[in-house]
Symmetry: C2
DNA sequence: ATATGTGCAAACTCTTTGCATGGAG
DNA sequence: CTCCATGCAAAGAGTTTGCACATAT
């Protein structure tokens, strides 16, 4: 049976107060403002559970390392700032993208990442 | 002064005989068919040099880990097979994509990845 | 009371670096 | 004959796992 701990509540709160995908390090940083003893291993274990529960989803942007965001968001893409490395949501999507695949390839998803500098870093 | 070694010739040949981005492990595997003693550290060092010379370019697909491809290819995107994990080129690109960024964000590039199963794995 | 969750540290994986030897020039 | 390049093994970064202790139920 799944327990409701301070650590899990803290991590849930972090995601409810942010509107962009977070890295494990970012989750740790924000989570520690609520539960200072929070450990990185707990962050990794907890996001895995939340992903399994479909409360979070994994975001795989170029550059390696997974980020996490609330799973209930409608289809969208991301902007990755080359300066601060933060990811932001991009709410529009070019339709028809999945038709670009070579003949005979079966497409079941796509990921579009824009690169540049965010408003703050410009 | 830069030297022309068996290892470097082998790695060059690998890229000239393939039309998709390769991971360091794939480069090692194919390179060893030409120079069996080839080491992984040499692969990493060599691709870094080729990237600096702009003969290769880095491809950062979702899922972590850099892949490499010939730098002189025209703008294109990639298809990543969920079954064999190989990347393939997608030669068309939806224009207009960079306009999707939020207001105030400065876009200087984009990466589009299609996911699914390649012809061989279907 | 009991079994799940946590924090720490060790293990792992992928990539990079140090160093002695090899080989291009 | 020089010095750059290589291969190995050790060191780093990021992530996962084992274990003893803490704590939700």
């Amino acid at each position: 049976m799944r327990r409701d701990t301070r650590q899990r509540r803290a991590i849930r709160r972090v995601f409810m107060n942010v509107d962009r995908p977070l890295t494990p390090e970012e989750i740790l940083e924000y989570g520690r403002r609520i539960v200072p003893s929070l450990g990185l291993a707990t962050v990794y274990r907890t996001v895995k559970i939340f992903v399994a529960e479909r409360w979070l989803s994994e975001v795989e942007l170029p550059g390696g390392g997974l980020r996490y965001e609330l799973a209930d968001r409608p289809h969208h893409h991301h902007f990755l700032c080359r300066s601060c490395d933060q990811a932001f949501d991009v709410h529009r999507c070019p339709d028809e993208v999945e038709r670009l695949a070579p003949r005979g390839f079966e497409v079941d998803g796509h990921e579009l990442t824009l690169f540049g500098r965010c408003v703050t870093c410009r």
